[in-house]
Subunit: 408 residues, 2 copies
Amino acid sequence: MNPTLEIFSQGEEVVTGQTVDTNAAWLSERVVAMGFNVTRHTAVGDKLEDLVALLREISVRADCCICTGGLGPTSDDLTAEAVAQAFDLRLEFDALAFEQIKRFFTLRNRNMPESNRKQAMFPKGAERIDNAWGTAPGFALQAGRCWFAFMPGVPLEMRHLFLEFVQPALASRFILRPGKLIAIKTLGMGESAIQEIISTIEIPAQVQLGFRASPDDVQTKLFFPYDYPEAAISSLASAIAAALGDHVFAVDGLGQASGDLVFTVDQLMTAGKYTLAVAETASQGLLAAKCVGLPWLLETRYEQSLQKLGQKLGITINTDNLQATAQAAAKEIKRTGDADFVLVQLYAGDVQTFHDKDQAIILYNVLLAGDGFHQAIHSVAGPIKRKQNQAALLALDLLRRYLQHKEL
Amino acid sequence: MNPTLEIFSQGEEVVTGQTVDTNAAWLSERVVAMGFNVTRHTAVGDKLEDLVALLREISVRADCCICTGGLGPTSDDLTAEAVAQAFDLRLEFDALAFEQIKRFFTLRNRNMPESNRKQAMFPKGAERIDNAWGTAPGFALQAGRCWFAFMPGVPLEMRHLFLEFVQPALASRFILRPGKLIAIKTLGMGESAIQEIISTIEIPAQVQLGFRASPDDVQTKLFFPYDYPEAAISSLASAIAAALGDHVFAVDGLGQASGDLVFTVDQLMTAGKYTLAVAETASQGLLAAKCVGLPWLLETRYEQSLQKLGQKLGITINTDNLQATAQAAAKEIKRTGDADFVLVQLYAGDVQTFHDKDQAIILYNVLLAGDGFHQAIHSVAGPIKRKQNQAALLALDLLRRYLQHKEL
């Protein structure tokens, strides 16, 4: 059984929503990869009794707790005091810590305010965590069942202290058996459709199956316990990826670098030394924007009026046959430009349809490659920003499928 | 005494750090503004016994709890079941909710998978929260001391449900004495510069001053206690806004609808019945993408190569005088198009400079309006996505300043 770990964030700015708590996610990702079982995140403000109560709760509930925030010099920084009160410990002055804090100011030609003295007071028995990046040293101690590590909340300082002190301390204190996470990333298929498709594949009871839908993909996640055979991991992942077919644009966790759809397209375009020109409508610049700085994207254009696009390209617009219109546009863009591939995206529906979350637009994507036209038609509904994002992704995905499979 | 409120986020993706919990901060900000005292955020994973224990804890500790996540169709979505178990309630099938879920699929021409049926099961006595933005309805109920509202974790759906159902329900259920928050939104000026400029203005001790820097703006926040005189609020806010000059693009909390920069520009363009054409370089489509669906944006284009842009427009490119080049491009776009205004954005620096977070690019923005050219030059540094975003905002902001002040 993997040891349990909780994350505890202290600060009024977190509970009042002034700050998004990115520390909790950053820490969790790292300790999960080490083999901890993260059971809870908690954030509380700057009230002493809340802090004391929470520390006591955690000390009987978890094997380990990583805490951030509340180590500053001001009166609302109460962590050390709360720890002392929760576990009935005296606060002791640490002369070496005090020297380090003073030195931090001296190095910056500043006088140390008297209030910083408080940062050198630690609960008796605590181990100090030196902080070379700021004035607040951290500390660690065992209380009840739980080993606590306290770090400052400033992300930059916290990350250094974690990597250099806390992570090695965790590795030497706990017997860890990290599992393995595989994430199969797809586009153009919903969570429940995926679940139905893979329901025919037998997933052993020790393997945890999960899904995560985001605006940019749906991830099917497999979490394998420690010591699960590598061959079995890759054969199960392959079976699921095969069932999901060419909806899969990347698989995380099998050793190859992987990222979002743009990452996959960038790898394929770079490998083939290809270039691309685009005409966008529903995505309205977002396709190009997603590819910022990538040298293979030569140009994009957006015209709100289809008639105007026809005028500028010198082609005939046939609103009853958007596919043929998109093909004509692609041909003309190819003729006047230098790109190997041309992607043209048109859609049926007026401004009102586009804005109405309950109405779908029909997207006509056409890719002109060396071997001719390839196309995909999609229905996309939802709020306008979702339609826009899906339009950008689905057009790019037509290119990805072509490059990956050279057949559609 | 203001009622206490806790935020509870459910999901393995949150506790394992796969997802940063932005919902908690978004919700906290809103309920704090309403007058709640937010005491705790907690996130737990998909383990039934953890959920049940947490729900019971909260039901005796807080007056109100807002919960997100765990309402999906899959087997790891356990919220309704956990509520039923925690408070000893039966799960009941809600025929109307079921019809709505089915309708969601029908509208999108998809078959409803059997697994979605589960989303129509609610604990007995719960009030349903209809969800027009996704398949997962929410629900609300009183348990012990605490009124719970459960919403899906998808931020877009959650925000709609909160604003349309939960917020009004909270307002009618609790006696609240909210303070008043004024946020002065600026672009093109850092936090410490703002702090220095307003240091000459006297801010009474009861008024809390704060700053929040995001990729899209810097907000100077003033929090006034309940019953603070309206006249004093608006005179302090006006004094600060005046000191920050035309960097201010919106002020939140003074009664007028306000939003992001695009919102302000949209209001001004719509009021004047103006239209716009754009040529982007560093923002690479993002300026247009930010204006998705707004009818006054007629066209945008992006050419990676400045020479190619010159070729297509039939103008001479002078890389030693990007301002003159941008003016020539704007003139040509104006000549061949129908837009009232033309915005052209060029930048000095190669692909490497653009990618290097330690190097700045120099942006040349030119606006061609009825009364001639207006321009702005900016230096933008940081990671490529920051440069891209700033480039989009600063170009739009040139248009905003022109429309607001008709002088630059």
